[in-house]
Each structure stands twice: as C-alpha cells, then as structure tokens.
C-alpha cells in the first residue's frame, strides 16, 4: 500500500474507478482525470456523483493530489450535487491531520500521502502545497456578496472552518470573513419567525440575511473562543436576535462559554442590549431547538451564581427565574440540564459548597410561574412533559416547590421505556445524591426532610429567587406545596422517587443498572439501613453480564461517596466486600485496596476496628469450592467457581493479608515504642493460651488480626502463606508485648510444622501439598525468627547487665555503652529489613535501653537520625521532618518526631522512589475528575491474567529491597533469596507495584516532590494553596492524627473540589498534604504590568506592585499582595509573565 505514489494511487484510483454497474468498455474516470470530464457535462457529472465521490468517501483520508482537480471542478462546474461533494472533500483535505494515513482509526486505510509525495521523484502533491490554494479559493468565494453565489458562499465558509486552528494565518482570515459578514448582517432587526422549519416566509433579502447570519455564527462557534474581545461577545449577543434557531443556539453557546470566564462582562453586555428585560431570552424558551435551551440553562446558571454579580441581585434574579422556568421544559434534556444547574452541577469542578447550596436550593426554592402564557409550550417534543403541561392554568400559576416539580418529572422519566432517558434520570438522581451528601457534610442542611412542605401562596417570590450563594446559611424554610392539605414532605417525595429508582434495576441494560446503583449509593444516607442496597448489589453481581469496567466504576463511586461522607466508611466497606466476594475476578484489586485504606483512615478512632474487620472479613471466607454458585443471594458466600475467579479471589486475599500486616498496628493503635507495658517477665511466663487471652483482652483489634493472619499463614495457598508470614513479622516488630512473643511462638511452631493440627479442624484444606515442614515456609521464616531471637537475646543481655550494674552500683563505662549502642544500631538495621520502623523512637532492646542510649548519644553528639546509614537521612526524610518541626515548636522535645509521621513519610518516599503514578489513585482521580476521553480497554478473556495484582515479588521488593537499598547494607538476607520468591507466579511489574502504593497507612506520604502534582490540576492546587494558610501540619498526616478528612473538618478540605478531591494532590495518600508550601522560602517579586483578573481565582495587579510569589503552575503564579487591592483581594493567580521575581 505504501510502496509509492504510483502503487498507492493505483490502488485508490482503481477502486474509485471500479464499478460493477459500469460496463468495462466505459471505464470510470479517475479523479485526476476529472477536468477532462467537464466537457462531457451530464454523464460525467452523474458518474462523479454516483460512483466516484461516494467511493472516495470510504477511505480514511483524501489524497491531496486530488485537490487540483477538485479546485478546477469548484471553478468550472455548476452542478450543485457535484459541488457539494467538492466542498466536502476540500474540507476533508483541510481537516486531515496528515498523520492519519499512518494510524488509521477507521475507513479503508490510506498511506501517508505527504510522505509518499516526498519520495516521489517527479514531485508529488503534498497537503502543504494545496492547502493555501484551497484556502485562497474558498476565502474569495466566502466573501463574494453576489446573490447568485449565495449557497456556494455558505458552503465555502463552512469548508474553511475545517482548517486546522493551529494555522494562525488561516484563522485570521476566517475571523475576518466571519466578522465582515456579521458586520453587514448582524445588526438587522428582524422579527423572529416562530419555528423556522414551518412555512417559508420573508422576502429574499431577509432570507439571505438569515442564511448568512446562520453561516457566520456557525463558523464563529467552531473558531477558538476569544473571551477578551468585546466584538466577539457583541456579535454573539446579537445572534440571540437572529431568526435562525441554529444560529441562536450557537450564539447562546458562545455566550455561555464566555460567561464561565467573564460573567460580569456578559451580564453587562446582555443588560445593555436590554435582552433580559425585553424578553428576548424568554423567547428562547419557545424555541424549538433543544440545545439552544440547554445553552440558555447553562448561561443562566453561570450568571446567577457568579460572584462578580453579587452586587446586582436585579440581574441575577432574572437569570435564576429563567432557569427555574426551564425546569418545566417539555424536553427531558433541557429539564435535566436545568435540574443539574439548580443542583450546582455544571462541570466537574464545583466546590462542595456549591453542591451543598444546590441541594438547599432544590429543597427550598419555589417557582412562581410567569404571567405570560409562555409555560404553555405547545410544541412538546416529549410526551412525558404533559405531566406538567396539562395542569389547569389556574393551578399552574401557583407557586410550586421546585423539589416537587423535579420529583414528579423524574418519576415520569423513570416510567419511560427508553434506555437513554432512564440512564439520564438515574444520573440526575446520582447528582442529587451528591449535592445532598455535600449539604450534609457541610452541615448547612438543617431542614428536616420529614417536615411537611408548608402551604405557601402569597409571599412575593422575587426576593426568594434572587440569590443562590447565600442559601447555605439561610434558615427560613420556603417550602411550598401544591395546595392546602398536601402531606408531601421531602422525605416522602424522595422515598417515592427512590422506590421507582430501585425498580429500574430490573432494566436489562447493565449500564442503566449501573447508573441506578450509583444513584442508590449516593442517595444512601449514613443512618439509613443498608440491607436493601446490599441485597440489590449482591443480587446484581450474580449476573455474569456485568462488564469489569462497569463494576470498577461502581467501586470508584464508593470511593467518591466515602470522600463525601467519611462516616459511611464501614457501610461502604460492607458494600465493597460484596464485590470482593461476588466478582473477585472482575474488580481491580488496586482500587479496592485504595478504598480499604481510605475507609480505614476515614473511619476515625472509633470505627477503625470495625473498618479493619470489614476489610479482613475477606480472609474469613471459605475457599471457593467448585460449583459453589448456589449461594446467589448470600453475600458471605464466594462466587468463584471458575479457576480464573478463584485465582483473582486468591490475589484479593493476598492483598488483604498484606493490608492487614501493614495496617493492623495503625488500626489497633498498638506500637512497640508506645507500649504501656514493657516486656514484663510476668507476661512472658504465661502459657500460650493465657497469653492469647491477655492479648485479646488488651487489644481485640490486633488480636483479631493476628488470629486471621495465623490462620492464613498455614491454610492458604503458598502465596498467601508467604504474605501472611511477612505480615506477622511486621506486626511482631511493630507491636509490644505480648503480641510479639505470641507471634514469635507461632512462627517458631510454624517453622517446625507443628501448628497445623491446632487449626486444621476449623479450616478446609485447599488440597495443596503443604510440604514436609507443614507449611513450606521454613526458609522464609528462619530469618524472621532469627531477628526476633536476636532482639530477645539482646534484651536479656541488657537486663542482665543492668542488674549487674545495679547490684554492683557500678557506672556504665563508655566502652559498655558503645557496645550497647552498636547492638542497638545493628538490631535497628536488621529490623528495618523487614518493615519500616521509626528509627528515632524504635528500641529493639526495649524501653530500659532508652536512657543508656541517650547517654551515649549525648556524650558523642550523635544525632538520633544522623548518618547516611539512616534511610531517613539518605532519602531526605529527616529534612522534611526537621523543617516541619521548626514550624511547630509545640513538639515536646527536640528529638520527638512523631514516629508514625516519620513512618508515613518514609514509606511514602519509598513509593515515590518507585514511581509516582499509582494506577489506582490515577483511576480514582480520573473518575472523580470526570475524565475519560481516553480509549477504553476492551475486555478480553486474557485480561484477567494481566491485571495488576499483588505478588510476592512485589511485596518483598517493596518491603525488603527498598529498605535494603536505602541502607546499603550487605545483609542481603531474609526472603530475598528464598526459593519462594523465585517461584512467584505473576507477571506484574515491580515498578507497577511501586506505583501501586500498597495501602499501608505507613505509606501515607506527603509526596511533595516536584511540580508534577501542581501541574496535574491547576485549579485544585490553586484552591489548596489559597486556603492552606498555616495549617499545613494538620493536613499532612491525617492517618497519624486520626482525623477523618471530612468536608467539614477544615477549610482546606472544604476548598477541595467536590468532584475531584484527590486530583492535583497526585498520588499522595488520603489527607496528607503537600508540604512544599511549608518548606519553600517565600519568593518576592514585582508586577511588571497591569493585570485585570478575569476569573474568581485570579488577582488584579498594578504595575510596580510588590508581591509574594507562592508557587508557579502552568504559566500562572499564585501571588500574595501586601495589602488588598481595590477589589479587596489579597491573593490569587496572575500570568507568570506579569511578575518578575526578585
């Protein structure tokens, strides 16, 4: 195909000229021979239209060498049918990217024409050759005012807009043409015909004018927006008065887009034109074009919530009134858009407050129908709208509570048989749930949903409809009812709607069902019973039709729901468990683990035990038995009858075991360095049973975790056993007594194979040969036992030495102290091979050693975390630690770095070294941000094996190797060389694992490295920084502080995007904030030019003004002024080029 111009054109032209209908004697003309057909008018032109052009359309791109022929046809041919094709192909040549031939997305693949032309010895035609000619010819036609060429002029202008917007010359030319046309026809005062698709009317001149207006505005819509250009806005606003409905739609869309950037200018411009008052915008309510009304809704929403218009309630009330009227629109599309706007959902960047205000607005506002009969929309393009339309006029004019209208409308939509309508209605309910959750989270929603809607008739409405931004604090209930005697409450309306929503689960389309489930998850209140939702989901998941992507989407919804309502952590974990048990093979283990982690943190101190139980209950599930598909409705039965699902479940269990090992100490708040009970001899003397009893009575959470891990360590598959052993040693090292001793005993017994009999009665064997030792873990466990042995031995030695010194009343010599210190350091290094511990606080020799080690350190001026052997120093953690400490003098002592915090940082840095792009976090971010133009992965059978999963190699790499590398220690010990590690099954890549961020709370990292996070989401970073203030420490280690990062917890979090609380913070763990702002020195600068803020988050500057530059992102600087400007603002974003840093 790509062997050269000749061969390729032969292929193409052969196909073009081939026509079975045409006899061989009369070969069809190739496009290159098109001019010769001009002399034979009718038949040749017919052939072109019927055979040549249609065939050319099936190719992926158009050969530029056809362009000269097309241009000649364009000049000489008069047949409209031929010319229409000519414009079509000229537009395609203008729009082809050039590289299309190489990577065809559809159509019959074509070669890269330009490349072919370049290698053609004779000199082929490239796009660069023909595009200027095409543009020239089309431009001159588009400016031709001759009425004979009217339709060709419109077509030429349309074709021109296909040119690449990156070519500024062409762009300028098109702007010139469009504005030239609008200058001539834009000012015309025409009476708009009602429904232009009806009878043709008007004189020739006005029709020509109307067509030109349409063509010019359509072209303008395709051109890049120029928000700072008043002429651009002026022309668009003029478009509202045009007679062509498509032109009006484009005008509104342009204005709506500009309004999102500069609402004040738009509102003022509209006001100047008296549109609002003269009713021109109201007329759009009657316009047949659905998208025009959608744009109107968006415009109204943008303008009436704009802070820039706070001082003009007269304007904003007009727009809110218009928006509320759109709730009655006969088209579902328009009505739903209006509902979403009322709910505060515009794009995916709304703040929580906006969403909360949206819910308050929905539940409290009333709609007074206008005096004009505009509500009586006769052109109903949707039969469902009749619910609202058919009301008697006297009744319809009564004020209506918006929520009631919305509920009725949604209910009628849920009775529809159309899948798109059902899907859209469920989506609206989901958004309603989001706004409701935001309102609850912020605590601004103080209306009892059970209270009856009050009768309300006489109160003037304008004042009530006026503002939306203050709803959050408004107390008065403005609820109205349809009439006296109505017993409607918000709760009853919601209940009735949700009943319908639930029945929609019966829809056979999984996508509709998925949306319904998402809606149910969002509408679920923390205090409501979960059972119904749980059974719906459990029942749904038994349907094999569910695609994996959709299920993961629901998991991500759970994540988002948790972000909105942290107190639902346990509830959501319960739901997540259903996924783990029912469809283990279809869900992404990364996302599930992230959910576990965030929920565990969010559950708060009281809920941590329950949260951990909910996570690890996965471990208590019996292993999947072949053919165990009978328990459809039970959520405690595993549905993993096929080998792939069983394998996926196993991986999930593996992940849960790992999670348990890493996080049990956090959940149980049990740390060796904080243990109240020193390793007392009394406890050590207890026999095993009593020790277990003592352990569980002291800390049931940890005891429960230990029991589960012990069970896994001998009864799972070999991968699970390995992970369980590692989890146990992690807990042993991090916990105080009696847990450490308990684990030591267990591991010891395990290495000898003696424990199986204790547990085997309660567990089913999975049939695997567990090896001669009973577990096959001997080689893995022995280094673990050795380290514990060393620790206990050293502790015994220390006790003995201390006793001797006490008895002899002898001081410790420097030599003795040195020996002790060396042992301490050696053990610390050994311990660090297995898991992360805070070296500053961790005492492998037990609490009594603290005093002696301090003495030695003080004598020799050794800093607790000095020396490059300390990974905290090697990796730069100590810098972070100490800088933070400087900011917080309240720390009790100079060396008292919160060990948990240090651990979080350290582990986080390890992750950082391995890569920042945690895939699960990315997925969550992407989901929350509403992204998704990237191509979907098509599910294939094989995909299951390539799904990133937990492998022993990965786990080991993270926990051992990283520490090892950081410490540059020779001791390549422990499991790294164990035979099991080489037998790992999976193909999952270590780097992927590193990015995966195993959901250890110890890996809650601040991730403040580099500007990459800043660039990820500028708006988010803006918000964060603008609201950080001095509270960076609070934000940094929420896992440590055990504060659920709820919306209401801090200003900082409230400023986070409701939709995308994670974006911009990169892969950092929940609640842990970027510390960059605290560690950076402020940079000062000066404004070079005057700058006028164009948005809420931008800051106006006067040239010469001194500013403090906080950070730079995406060409913008976040700066602070020394004193507030005229607009009263102190800080905001300015373009980088407008400030110079001193």
């Amino acid at each position: 195909m790509a062997s050269g111009q000749e061969s390729s054109s032969t292929t193409l032209m052969d196909l073009i000229s081939y026509d079975p209908m045409v006899p061989p004697a009369a070969p069809a003309p190739a496009p290159v021979a098109v001019p010769s057909t001009l002399g034979r008018p009718k038949s040749s032109q017919k052939q072109l239209v019927l055979h040549v052009f249609p065939k050319l359309a099936v190719y992926n791109s158009v050969d530029p060498s056809v362009a000269p022929s097309l241009l000649m046809l364009h000049q000489q041919c008069e047949d409209n049918n031929v010319l229409r094709y000519v414009y079509y192909y000229l537009a395609r040549i203008l729009s082809d990217s050039g590289a299309q031939g190489l990577s065809p997305g559809g159509g019959i693949p074509t070669p890269n024409w330009d490349a072919l032309a370049d290698i053609d010895a004779v000199g082929g035609v490239t796009r660069a050759d023909v595009i200027p000619r095409i543009v020239h010819q089309l431009s001159s036609e588009a400016t031709n005012a001759d009425t004979e060429y009217h339709s060709r002029r419109l077509a030429a202008l349309k074709a021109l807009t296909s040119a690449s917007p990156s070519n500024s010359d062409i762009l300028e030319k098109i702007y010139e043409i469009v504005f030239g046309i609008l200058e001539k026809v834009g000012d015309a005062k025409q009476k708009r015909r009602k429904g232009i698709f009806g009878k043709q009317g008007g004189d020739k001149e006005s029709n020509i004018r109307s067509n030109l207006q349409y063509a010019a505005l359509s072209a303008l819509r395709r051109l890049p927006l120029d928000p700072g250009n008043p002429i651009f806005l002026h022309r668009a606003i003029q478009g509202i008065l045009f007679s062509d409905p498509v032109a009006i739609r484009h005008a509104l869309a342009i204005i709506s887009d500009i309004a999102t950037r500069d609402p004040y200018s738009v509102a003022m411009a509209l006001g100047q034109c008296k549109f609002v008052y003269s009713g021109a915008l109201h007329d759009i309510l009657h316009l047949h074009d659905v998208l025009a009304r959608v744009s109107l809704a968006r415009l109204c929403h943008t303008l009436y919530r704009a802070r820039a218009l706070d001082a003009r309630p007269d304007i904003t009330s007009q727009f809110s009134s218009l928006l509320f009227q759109l709730l009655l629109d006969p088209s579902d599309r328009v009505c739903f858009e209006a509902i979403l706007c009322v709910l505060g959902k515009f794009d995916n960047t709304e703040r929580t407050e906006e969403r909360a205000a949206g819910w308050v607005r929905l539940t409290r506002e009333v709609l007074k129908l206008p005096e004009t009969p505009s509500v009586k929309l006769k052109e109903t393009d949707n039969p469902t709208a009749k619910v609202n339309m058919d009301k008697p006029s006297s009744k319809a004019k009564r004020p209506q509570p918006i929520i009631k209208l919305v509920m009725r409308r949604l209910e009628s939509s849920f009775r529809s048989f159309s899948r798109p309508v059902l899907h859209a209605a469920a989506r609206v309910v989901q958004e309603m749930g989001k706004s409701r959750a935001a309102a609850y989270a912020l605590g601004v929603y103080d209306v009892d949903e059970g209270v009856r809607l009050h009768a309300y008739f006489d109160e003037p409405l304008d004042s009530e409809l006026s503002r939306s931004n203050s709803e959050g604090t408004r107390k008065a209930s403005l609820l109205a009812s349809n009439g006296p005697g109505s017993m409607d409450t918000i709760a009853s309306l919601l209940a009735s709607l949700m009943e319908l929503v639930r029945t929609t689960v019966a829809c056979e389309c999984v996508y509709v069902r998925a949306m319904v489930i998402k809606a149910l998850i969002w509408m679920q209140n923390p205090h409501e019973s979960l059972e119904e939702l749980e059974s719906i989901i459990a029942c749904e998941l038994t349907d094999p039709a569910w695609p994996s992507a959709l299920l993961n989407d629901i998991l991500l919804t759970l994540h988002a729901r948790f972000k909105a309502s942290p107190d639902m952590a346990v509830t959501l974990l319960e739901i997540a468990r259903i996924f783990a048990t029912k469809v283990p093979g279809k869900i992404d283990a990364d996302v599930l683990q992230l959910l576990w982690k965030t929920c565990l943190v969010g559950a708060g101190p009281d809920g941590k035990h329950t949260a951990l139980e909910a996570v690890t209950i996965v471990l208590d599930l019996p292993p999947p038995q072949p053919g165990s598909m009978s328990g459809f409705t039970s959520v405690d039965r595993v549905s993993a009858s096929d080998p792939k699902s069983a394998l996926a479940l196993q991986r999930l269990v593996q992940a849960a075991v790992w999670f348990l090992g890493e996080n049990a100490n956090y959940a149980a708040a049990e740390y060796a360095w904080e243990s109240a009970t020193p390793p007392g001899t009394a406890l050590m003397m207890l026999d095993a049973d009593k020790m277990v009893a003592a352990a569980s009575s002291r800390n049931p959470t940890l005891a429960g975790a230990l029991t589960r891990l012990q069970r896994c360590a001998f009864s799972g598959s070999w991968e699970i056993r390995i992970v369980a052993a590692h989890a146990l040693i992690t807990i042993a090292i991090r916990s105080g007594e009696p847990y450490r001793l308990q684990i030591y005993e267990f591991l010891h017994a395990l290495s000898l194979g003696g424990v199986q009999s204790q547990f085997s009665q309660s567990q089913l064997s999975n049939g695997e040969d567990q090896g001669a030792s009973g577990t096959g873990l001997g080689s893995l466990i022995s280094p673990m036992i050795k380290v514990l042995d060393d620790m206990y031995r050293a502790q015994d030695d220390l006790n003995r030495d201390m006793r001797n010194h006490d008895n002899n009343k002898q001081e410790w010599t420097d030599e003795e102290l040195k020996k002790l210190y060396e042992t301490h350091e050696k053990l610390l290094d050994l311990v660090s091979l297995f898991c992360f511990v805070p070296k500053v606080k961790y005492l492998p020799l037990g609490p009594p050693s603290a005093k002696l080690i301090d003495i030695y350190r003080n004598r020799h001026n050794i800093s607790a975390s000095s020396g490059m052997n300390d990974p905290a120093v090697a990796t730069g953690i100590s810098d972070l630690v100490y800088e933070t400490k400087e900011d917080h003098k309240e720390s009790e002592e100079s060396n008292a770095i919160d060990p948990e915090l240090a651990m979080a940082w350290a582990a986080g840095l390890e992750d950082g070294l391995l890569g920042n792009n945690a895939p699960a976090m990315e997925k969550v971010n992407e989901f929350l941000a509403g992204a998704g133009t990237d191509a979907p992965d098509v599910e294939e059978e094989e995909n299951i094996t390539s799904r990133p999963s937990v492998t022993y190699d990965d786990l080991w790499a993270k926990s051992i190797l990283e520490t090892y590398e950081a410490e540059e220690d020779d001791a390549r010990s422990s499991g790294t060389s164990s035979p099991e590690s080489t037998g790992s099954v999976e193909t999952s890549i270590s780097s992927h694992f590193g990015g995966m961020n195993y959901p250890s709370l110890f890996s809650s990292r601040p991730s403040g490295h580099g500007a990459s996070q800043y660039s990820e989401n500028r708006s988010n970073t803006r918000r964060y920084n603008s609201s950080t203030g001095g509270s960076n420490f609070e934000g940094m280690g929420s896992p440590v502080r055990e504060e659920p990062p709820s919306y209401s917890s801090s200003v900082l979090q409230r400023f986070e995007s409701f939709e995308n609380p994670l974006a911009g913070q990169g892969a950092q763990s929940f609640g842990s904030r970027d510390e960059d702002t605290s560690s950076q020195n402020p940079q000062f600068g000066e404004a070079l030019y005057d700058f006028t803020a164009g948005g809420d988050d931008e800051l106006s500057l006067t040239a010469g003004e001194e500013v403090e530059i906080e950070y730079e992102v995406d060409g913008w600087c976040y700066v602070k002024k020394k004193r507030p400007g005229r607009d009263g603002r102190m800080a905001g974003l300015v373009p980088v080029l407008y400030v110079s840093s001193s």
Binding site: V58, P104, A424
Partner: protein, 143 residues
Amino acid sequence: MKNNYVQILYFRNSFQGVPGEDRQHWRSFLVKLGADNLKGARSEELFVALQKSVYIVYAMLGDVSIYVVGKDEYDELTLSEVIYVIMSCVKDVCGKTPTERLFLDKYGKICLCLDEIVWKGMLENTDKNRIRRLTKLRPPTEV
C-alpha cells in the same frame, strides 16, 4: 460479524480530534459493545452505555449498527436526538430501512448528510428538510 465493514466505514466520521491509537481502541470497544448487545435488537431500538464519562448511544438500523459518542453537553439524551436524526436521514437517503448493500451504495450521500448533522464534532442541523436542502447545496432558508 456481518456488519463489521459498515461499522468501520461509519467510524471514519466519528471521534473528531481523537488520536489514531485511541480510535482503534474505541472502535474495538464499540464493536464489542454491539456484539454483546445488538444481537436480536429491534431496528431503531436505542441502547446506551457510559464509558468513564463518555456517553454512547447506539442502535441497529436494518443491517447497520450506528454508534453516536459524546461527552459533557452531548449526553445520552442529546445523543438520542442525534441518532434519531441520523437514522431518519439514512432512511431517507436509502428510501427504506437500509440493508448493508444499500447503505454502501448510498454511502456518499450519507456522508454528506452526516456532514450537515455533525460539524467538527458539534451537532449542527437536526431538521430533515434543512439537511436535505444543504446536501443539495441549497441554502437553509430558500431565497
């Protein structure tokens, strides 16, 4: 799959601005979606899907599978409107519910209609008469 060819042809007119490799993925995704759901579907019965935040509305029209994909303001309801217009125009051009053969025969004309319905990724004309006029290079409002 019987309609594979038609789907691929049609695909040419979709995904404005989407890079080539992603188009391939999208095509595979759509083909699979159709294979899973369109078997035995009634002609012109609408189906809906949501992939991340991209809406897909699709249907069978005779032998032809039609997929319309959109984002943001082009949600499932707008796309339903778009697909109705497309189906109506295709039927008009073909004179009846299209067979695969008929569709290919009229493909050029169908492309012109699509060009009038969707222009640079945005919905343009929805009225059948207006589209017919424009495909014949006549102005939207007769002069």
